[in-house]
Symmetry: C2
Subunit: 160 residues, 2 copies
Amino acid sequence: MEPDERRDLAAMLYPLVRALIEVEMPVLATQDVSMWGYSVLAALDRTPIRTQAALAEAIGADKTRIIGTLDALQEAGLISRTPDPDDRRARLLAITDEGRRVRRSVTADIRAREERLLATLPAADRRGFLRALTALSALPPGELEEIAAGPVSGSPRSPA
Amino acid sequence: MEPDERRDLAAMLYPLVRALIEVEMPVLATQDVSMWGYSVLAALDRTPIRTQAALAEAIGADKTRIIGTLDALQEAGLISRTPDPDDRRARLLAITDEGRRVRRSVTADIRAREERLLATLPAADRRGFLRALTALSALPPGELEEIAAGPVSGSPRSPA
DNA sequence: TATTGTTATACTCTATAACTATA
DNA sequence: TATAGTTATAGAGTATAACAATA
């Protein structure tokens, strides 16, 4: 048996995500939200956030990059963005009822499409795939790279 | 039990590929090849290809996009690019011995890093993950999108 | 006329730096 | 002075169109 006759993970995963994004696009279009807009709605549906920078970090984006997205979402009434009375520099971010409705609708549609895909896999592989994916994506930022880099020699504490 | 309490596949996979690419970058740098350069070497190591357009298609790129990559690879002596005597428009593409060496070296290093990552997963999940990933990435282009879109009503043949 | 490879152009996405308003 | 948000600028990556050589 040659168990290692496989392509690199990135080589397999890269086209896969591109295809999955293609799948999501028409769903997002029906509700007039962008990919990042949907990502913001999903994050705020889990919990409100106190600053835009924290939100950007939470969804793996840049604080300058999500501003247009937030403008559009607010304009569409899907999120609220109110200055914090205690610190008027910050903007308190929360999802609205309408935003929640849009988010739930999009998620349900995407989930249905994903399930059709996953249904083509053997049950055991499907379970393992989802469990592995959940575990890997739950790693804190940078942790995956560190594990891949391997164990370091020398004392791990007090570098200077 | 609520088996569906998970995030969207793309939401989990997107940061994962970004992290995996981060992992590959330093490895590629040691051999002075780009991501697309490595992709080309991997494709040509499987089989020589008769035209640049076919190569581009094989690695999911655009024929105009890989030209600079091919220039660099040829310049570095990692591939050969000779006009086809039978059709002087076409360029016969093949990997060189040196290209093969570079490719093998990069793959071995990347594989070692990936294995450290996969070692953090339970064996059953790891197997399922790799099997599912292999199956999904083996789908012909566009097939995944079609499966996700679901069954169509109406006669599937002779659309016009 | 059609095709292969190439070059030129534009468009999208992202990253960096500079600016404002609050603290 | 430091921080949250914003705007402006530039860079990378990608897609589209036009072009030269060959068939």
